[in-house]
Structure formats: C-alpha cells, structure tokens
C-alpha cells in the first residue's frame, strides 16, 4: 500500500524532480533482492525533504537513483520536465551540472587536500563558488590544506558537503550526512545544511534513520521495505540548533 504524494503537485508548481514507479532490484546469486518496489515522488523548488526509514529499507537506493548514480530496473525520472534517458552521457551531464551529492562514506579522494577535493568539482562546473568560500560555509576555512586522513569523520563529511554545494547545484542530495557522527558534530553538519538551504534556496533531500531530524524538513517521507509508506508536512520548520536529539 504505497502512499502517493503527487496529488498536491499543482499547488506547489512544477516539480524539480519527478519519479514514477521507480523500481530497483539486485540479483544476488539465485535470489532477487527488491530494494525499491515502485516509488512515486516529486521534489519541488526550494523544498527541504527528509527521507526517513530503517536500515535496509531502500533509502540509499532511492537517493542514488535520484542523483543519477544508478539505473532503475523500472520506472521513470524527470528532471524539470525532461525524462531521463539513462544514457551514460546524459547521466554524467546531470550529475555534473545539476546534482550535489553527499555520500554516506564521504568518498573524498585521499591524495587530495580539502581544497583540492572541492576544486575537483568546481573545475568542471559552470558557475561554481570559490572552493575556499564553500569550505568557509561548512566552517572549514582554516583546514583548506589538510588531507582527508588528517581530518575527523565530521570534518571529512563537511568537506564532502562543501564539495557538493560548491557548484551551486540545483539539487542537493545527502545520504545519511550524520550517520557516522556523534550528536555534537552531527548537529554542526545539519546546521551547515540548514544554513546553505536558507542562503542558496537549493532543493535539498536528506536521508536519515534518525526521526528527530525530521523536524527540520518541509516534508518528511518515510520509506519502508522499498516503498514510500508515509508522508508528513511540517507546518513549521525547526532550525538544526533547536532539534530535540
């Protein structure tokens, strides 16, 4: 019993990203694992969405598909009205020009410093902000020349966020940005995301299994067993600092 949340579309204008019937299954030897079983979803301009769900429910699978990192077994995805054709060229262009992605495990290039990791992206995007500014925004203005191995997990996560926002993406997708962090550091990271959302008005989707974070969102999608099982609209968004953790 999938919950559909596409009825309100007209009220909020055209969706930035519209997914219909997204399905993804993996073959593991003889068994077929259905990670996503037909998800319909819209992300609207300037929206802050939190995707909640227990571990293994298919959150990452969904976000990877939304970010153009993976190809669905079935279903469609439309970015600003244009249906994705899943060709390698189209996906590459989409990732490079529209999406800022924050990976659950940061995925920094170990041989590059914080600044260089950000430069890696800004050098190939159309209207980036200076790498230093991006790092400034995540509170790492003084760690520009540190290598990933010289930084804590939280700091690495913030570099990953800086790398994602530096291109001024149309969409910011974050996979468990606080998953590996303690409360204090997690809060710092969330504040950064909150501030960036306010300042840049970037459409943002965050995955978490921590329901406390849901209060930050305009809208909360709950995923269970490969389907959207629940949608909540928050009347009032709470700042990261005020979250009851």
């Amino acid at each position: 019993m999938a919950v559909q949340d596409v009825s309100a579309a007209d009220a909020r204008g055209a969706a930035v990203l519209a997914a219909r019937g997204l399905t993804r299954s993996y073959r593991m030897g003889e068994v077929e694992v259905h990670a996503l079983r037909g998800v319909d979803l819209d992300l609207f301009d300037g929206e802050f969405v939190v995707i909640l769900g227990p571990s293994g429910s298919g959150k990452s699978t969904l976000l990877n598909l939304l970010g153009g990192l993976d190809i669905p077994s079935a279903g469609t995805l439309a970015y600003r009205g244009k249906t994705m054709d899943w060709s390698d060229a189209a996906l590459t262009a989409y990732r490079r020009d529209q999406v800022g992605f924050v990976f659950q495990f940061y995925n920094l290039i170990p041989s590059l410093t914080a600044r260089e990791n950000v430069l890696l992206v800004t050098e190939i995007s159309k209207s980036p902000m200076p790498a230093e500014l991006a790092l400034e925004l995540v509170g790492l203005g003084d760690r520009l020349d540190h290598f990933p191995s010289q930084m804590s997990g939280g700091e690495q996560q913030r570099v990953a966020i800086a790398r994602a926002i530096a291109k001024r993406p149309d969409l910011l997708l974050c996979d468990e940005p606080t998953g590996a962090l303690d409360i204090k550091t997690g809060r710092v990271v969330l504040e950064v995301l909150d501030r960036i959302h306010r300042e840049l008005r970037t459409t943002t989707a965050i995955i978490t299994h921590n329901s406390a974070i849901a209060a930050m969102a305009d809208r909360v999608l709950t995923i269970g067993d490969g389907l959207v099982v629940h949608v909540d609209h928050n009347a009032r968004r709470v700042g990261a600092a005020e979250l009851a953790w």
């Binding site: 030897g29 995925n107 997990g153």
Partner: protein, 788 residues
C-alpha cells in the same frame, strides 16, 4: 594552473613511486634488449653493405691450380660478367720472432699499379705497396693487432720452400676477409693466421706463376644468370685445376658475416621479444591491479560528473609517463648495449667502420608496445569499474563467489590454521589474479634460466668440441695430397705421440636442386684423435661404405639416410659419383661429411694417401715439434686445438655471454619488480582487513605472515611454471642462434634451475622485509576511520 585531477596524478606518482619505478625498470629492460640488438643488427648490416659496395666486393670467386693470364679474357667474355680480376694466392709459413707456435699466412697479390679492380682493401694505417716495390707487404689488421705489428716491422715468410723477408708498409682490411679465417677453420685465429697483400710480380716469381694466375674474382652485370656464369667458369677453368666457382653467398668470410647478421636479427627478434613480451605482460598485470585498488576513486570521479573519457585520460597519463620514461631509459640503454656489442664484434668482424644509427623506428615500436600493454591493463581494469553505475562501483568489489572456493571444497582449509585459511581463501577467491601474478614471477625465473642456459650451453660446447670430438693437439695440412709415408714421417718426429692421416677432398654435393660446397673428410675408422660424436646419442662410427652427414648438412641437402647424393670432386681426376648417405650425426660445430679412408680412396680412384694428419704432441716437446712441422715443405698449415678453443671462447662465446649477462641482470630486476609490486598491491587491497586484524589484537608479525603467506604461495606456484617456461624459452633462443657454424644444444644444468629459483626466492624475501617495514607503520586508525 595544475588541475586538481593532475594534482591527484602527481600525488599518486609520488605515493606509488616504488612500484612505478619497478615498472619503469621493467620497460627499460625490455626496450634495452630490443633496441640494443636491433640497432646492432642494423648497424652491422648497413656497415657490411656499405663496405661491399665501396670496396667493390666481387660476386663470383674461383680458385684453380694454374692458368695462363689469357684465360682471363675468355672469362671476361662470359655473358653476364662485367669485370674480372685475376690474382696469385699463396699459402706460406711465417716466422714470427719470439713466437714459437706455427703461423701461416695467405699471400694475396695486388696489381702492380693502382688498386685492384675488385676486392679493394682499406688501408687502416701506413700505405699500400709502392709500384715496383717487391718486398713490401700490407698486413691484415687482425694479424697485425695480434702480433703488434707496425709499419716498418719486418716479417719472414717461407713461400714454396723459399725464405723471403718483407717490410710491413701498411695495415689493411678487405671485404674478402672481414672474418679473417683460415680456409677450413671455423674460427678466426689471429695469432696463427693472417692475410698479407704483396705485389703480383713477387708472388708470380715465388710460386712459379709467371704470366699466370691461380685465383680469380668477377663482378656480374645486374640481371646476370648466376648459375650459367658458374657453369661457364667451371667449363673454362676445369682443365686448369679449377676448384669450382662459387658465388658471394658461399664466400667464406661473407658467409660467416651474413650468417652472423641473420643470427643477430633472429636474436634481436626472439630474445628481446620474449623480454618485451614479458615486460608487457607484467605491465598489464601490475596496472590492472593498481587501477583496481583505485576502484572507489574512479567511481567517485564518475559520481562527481567526470566522464569516462576524462577519467580514462587521467590514468592514460600515468601509463604514458611510465611507458615513456621506461622507453627513454631503454633507448639509452640500447644505444649503450649496441656500442658495447659492436666493440666485441669489431674484434673479429673487421669492418672499416661501424655505422651506429639512432634507432628511431625501434624506439617507436618499443614505446608503442609498452604503452599499449600498460594501457590494455589499465583500461581492462577501468572498464570493469566504469561499466557499472557509480553507486554500484563505489561498493567494494563483491567476492568473486559466495560459494566455498575450490580450495575449501578440497578440504585444504581443514588442515590449515585460521591464518592459513585466510591465505587459502584469498587465493581461492581470486584464482585468475593469483595465476597471473604467479605467471609473472614464473617469467622472471624463466628469463634467468634462459640467461644462464647460454653459459651451460657454451660449457657444453667447449667440453664436447674441444675435449671429446677434437682430441688431437694439432691438425697438420699438406700442400697437396701425399702418400701415407708423409704421415709416417710425422709419426717418427720426436715429440709426436700419434699421427692419424685424414683425406679431405673439396667437393660439390648435390641433391636435386641443392648444391653445397664442402669437403669430404676421410678418416681412419679406428682413429682416436678426431671422433665423430652425436651430442644427443654419443659416439658414432664412420660407415665402411657411403657418407655420414652432419644432421645440419642433411637438412641443407634435404636428404635422409638411405638416399644418395652426387659428389663432384674438385681435385685429382675430378670424379663425379653417386654416394649413399649411410647415416647422419648431430654435431655442434660446422657442417661436415665423413667417409672412411678406404671408401674415399675408392671414390677418388686413388691409392692410400693423406691430405694431412691429426697429431698429438708431447707437451714437453711442443716447441721443437712446431719448428719441425713448419720447416717441412709439404706442410701448408698447422691448426692448434688450444688456439681454436681460445678463439671460440674469445669470440662467439664472448658475445653470447655478454648478451646472456645482460639477460641475467635484467631478470633480477624483473624478479624483484614483479614480486615487489605483487606484495605492494596486496597490501593496498587489504589495508583495511590487515588493520582490522591489528585492531583485534594480532601482532604485526602475524599479520605480516598472512600477507607474506600469499606471496610465498605465488612464488611456490611460480617455480615449476618458471622452469618449464624457461626450458621453452631456451629452445626458442637456441633455435634462433643456429647456423652452419654452430648449433646450441639445449642443455640446462639442474644448478641453473636451482640458481634461478634461488634468485627469485631471494628477491621475494627481500621484498618481504621491505613490506614488513611498511606494515609496521600501517596507520590502523586512519585506515579504519574513513569507511563504514
């Protein structure tokens, strides 16, 4: 402004410098042998061509007993003949002050005025003989060098029993005697044999040759029919005791040189191809693994919006840098190697100059080859990554199979400890990678085996040829075939222990379309000083009837035992007979045809006679025996076994051992390089696993043992493979060196296998120690904190 991606490249370069250096050296080794021997081959070939052309090397040659000069005009009139040069040639004994061993020389006449029309010589020092000067000589360079002769020195010769003194006016070279070899010998022997050019008048007077000649060379017009010219020559010269005209390709010096060039080419192709091929293979294996360790980084780059092309280009730069650096060093090494080899060559192939050209073409080929090999490795590994959507590629590569590996199914793990089980499981899960790494190490062993095999083979040849086949101390040749009394006289000389007659008849052997000029050697079936030994099956007997051919000659003539060949004698009554091939014998040096003495006398329709004798000499009485031999008018030449041996080890062997030493040196580099890379990549791939083991309380030695255990298994598996492949390579190398002059038997001593294996094991141990250092400094925390 350096892009971030290029900065990653630079940092990767620095981080991987040890591994990359090993790869660079690998490429260097492959390219050095390839470029070195190719350059060498081309240099000698060009030098030869240039020499022949500029010094008018003749196309046709013929020796005869004596013909009046008027015959020359008839020869010149033969259709296809452009130019004829007659000469007088005489063999003589030389008396070299302070040198007691027998020395013989071949005197070659030069026209009174002006340079010869054909076979001109090149004056290295001094001048040519003055017109009208009778007692002046130009001495060949090899002989002059061996005896430190300089212009102004004097030499004394005994020509046809008459003693004469000459003054040396020049040192010379001739395209006819690039390889200064005594007729019938296999190796030049500069101490005991030389070429002397002197005036025609002098030689005519000394040899009773006034107005006559006994040797002739001719140049042909383009498009002349060579067989017809030869037939015409033999027709004209037959009645003057002609020994059969022959073409340039059968001229002794040219044949040796051309054979050598052919061999060099085979050598330049076969062995370096093995090398370059091995290097390319290793490059491929190493880069495949190197790129695999960067799987996640590649996926991340893709996820960030880098296209496959941009990512591929990033790694292509790495490959290009390594391949080009290796090639550049290899070309330098190759130039050095060709210079060094030319130096060795110049000692026995005497050319006025060696052109060493920069090997552009070889460089391009080598560079393309190594780059392609590396690129294939890189792109093979990358394709696996970029084929997947980034989300998939970012996940660590799943184990190849979720089933128990074949090793486990065999129950191997039940007998092993936990650590042993980890090692085995790792091997079993990636059998292809394990096999490839093992094969790489095997190649290192194989190359060592080939390198050392040359040493074994040369030892074998020396032992075979100079201790088992030739047991005489000297071979004495007579001016003309004499009665057996002459041998009896030798036997009675004080100090001569044994003297066994032989009869050598110059012949043309013919079988269908193939003709081969050689000598039939009649030997005493009960003789002991010169034995006929098949290097495979042992001593053979001269048959009472028919001829025993060396396998090589049978191969050239395309005959088998039981067939017949036509033997046309070029001496005496010049009978032409059908002779039964009664057997073949695989010898290592030369191409011979053996008959028993009675059989050859029957063939020649003659009584017991001898062309010379094999003698053994009392070591204490060598000097008087030599003096006595040289004073006999009937003796035209004495070839010492020890001199032949020295000549062999100093010439062909020296070159081959130089080449082999380079192979061996490079094999060390390859062995260390492949083992080191294998270990480093294992370390990189399993950093997390190893760090985890450290974290749960294993000592670093235990962790090291797990890592080293896998390496040890690779080396273990490589040993039989390496020995087998080495044996195969040795066969390939041996067949590429084969020529009329000598064959290389594939003898590989157990000690060669053992040493080759030991070297690789030593390299593995050294690498194990280096890796241990790295492991001790493994930063567990850094490794663990960055990931799930």
């Amino acid at each position: 402004m350096v892009s971030a991606l290029d900065r990653k490249l630079l940092r990767d370069l620095r981080h991987l410098k040890g591994q990359l250096l090993a790869i660079v050296l690998l490429v260097t080794c492959g390219v050095t042998t390839f470029v070195g021997s190719m350059t060498m081959w081309r240099s000698i070939m060009r030098s030869q061509q240039d020499y022949y052309e500029r010094y008018r090397f003749a196309d046709v040659f013929a020796s005869l007993r004596r013909a009046p000069e008027t015959v020359a005009r008839r020869l010149a009139a033969i259709p296809g003949v452009a130019e004829v040069q007659t000469r007088v040639v005489a063999d003589a004994a030389l008396e070299m002050p302070g040198f007691p061993e027998p020395v013989t020389a071949r005197f070659v006449s030069i026209p009174c005025c002006g340079p010869p029309a054909l076979n001109r010589f090149h004056i290295r020092a001094g001048r040519t003989i003055a017109p009208g000067a009778d007692s002046e000589v130009v001495v060949s360079e090899g002989f002059a060098t061996a005896h430190r002769l300089r212009t102004g020195d004097r030499v004394t010769a005994v020509i046809q029993g008459r003693k004469q003194s000459f003054s040396v006016v020049g040192i010379g070279l001739s395209p006819e005697f690039v390889y200064e070899i005594r007729p019938g010998d296999l190796m030049p022997d500069d101490k005991h044999f030389g070429i002397l050019w002197t005036s025609r008048r002098q030689l005519e007077a000394a040899g009773d040759m006034e107005g006559a000649f006994n040797d002739v060379a001719a140049r042909l017009e383009p498009g002349a029919s060579e067989p017809e010219v030869l037939v015409a020559f033999d027709r004209e010269l037959g009645r003057y005791g002609g020994l059969g005209a022959f073409l340039r390709k059968d001229q002794v010096s040219n044949r040796f040189l051309s054979d050598e060039i052919r061999q060099l080419k085979a050598n330049a192709v076969v062995v370096p191809s093995i090398f370059l091929g091995v290097a390319a293979f290793l490059l491929n294996v190493i880069f495949t693994r190197l790129v695999s360790t960067q799987r996640e980084q590649i996926a991340t780059l893709k996820a960030l919006g880098y296209s496959n092309l941009a990512t591929g280009f990033h790694y292509a730069k790495l490959v290009a840098l390594v391949a080009m650096l290796g090639t550049a060093l290899g070309v330098l090494g190759g130039i050095w190697m060709s210079h060094a080899m030319t130096g060795i060559y110049a000692q026995y192939y005497r050319l006025p100059q060696y052109f060493v050209e920069l090997p552009w073409r070889e460089t391009v080929i080598a560079c393309a080859l190594s780059t392609t090999a590396a690129a294939l490795g890189v792109f093979g590994a990358m394709r696996k990554v970029v084929r997947l959507p980034p989300a998939q590629a970012m996940r660590p590569e799943p184990p190849a199979s979720f089933h128990p590996s074949w090793l486990e199914r065999l129950g191997v793990d039940r007998v092993a400890s936990a650590a042993g089980r980890m090692i085995l499981r790792n091997v079993g899960r990636r059998p292809v990678r394990f096999a490839l790494s093992s094969l790489g190490i095997g190649f290192a062993i194989a190359i060592l085996v080939v390198g050392w095999f040359f040493f074994d083979a040369l030892d074998f040849i020396v032992d075979y040829q100079f201790r088992n086949v030739q047991r005489d101390d000297a071979m004495v040749t007579f001016n003309v075939p004499l009665s057996r009394d002459a041998v009896g006289e030798l036997r009675r000389t004080r100090g001569v222990l044994r003297a066994e007659p032989f009869r050598a008849v110059p012949v043309k052997l013919r079988s269908r379309h193939v003709t081969y000029r050689t000598a039939l050697l009649g030997v005493d079936p009960s003789g002991e000083l010169r034995r006929i030994i098949d290097y495979d099956t042992g001593p053979a007997q001269v048959p009472p009837e028919g001829v025993l051919l060396t396998s090589k000659l049978a191969e050239i003539l395309r005959v088998h035992p039981g067939d017949t060949v036509t033997a046309e004698a070029l001496e005496g009554r010049r009978p032409v007979r059908e002779v039964l091939v009664s057997g073949t014998v695989a010898e290592l040096m030369g191409v011979s045809a053996y008959m028993s003495l009675p059989a050859i006398h029957r063939l020649m329709d003659e009584g017991p006679s001898a062309s010379g004798a094999f003698v053994s000499i009392d070591p204490d009485l060598e000097r008087p025996v030599y003096a006595r031999l040289m004073s006999m008018p009937a003796v035209s030449g004495v070839t010492l076994r020890t001199a032949a041996l020295a000549s062999f080890t100093g010439t062909s062997a020296e070159y081959m051992l130089f080449f082999a030493s380079i192979l061996v040196g490079f094999a060390w580099v390859i062995a260390a390089g492949i083992v080191y890379n294998s270990a480093r990549v294992s370390l990189a791939e399993r950093e997390r696993e190893l760090a985890t083991m450290r974290v749960i309380g294993m000592t670093w030695i235990e962790v090291w043992l797990i890592l080293i255990g896998e390496l040890a298994l690779q080396v273990l598996a490589a040993i039989p493979v390496g020995c087998l492949v080495g044996w195969g390579f040795a066969h390939l190398a041996a067949s590429s060196v084969e020529s009329d002059l000598y064959r290389i038997p594939v003898v590989i001593l157990p000690s060669t296998y053992a040493t080759s294996v030991a070297v690789v094991v030593a390299a593995a141990i050294a690498v194990g120690i280096v890796i241990r250092r790295r492991l001790r400094h493994l930063d567990m925390v850094a490794v663990l904190k960055s990931k799930e």
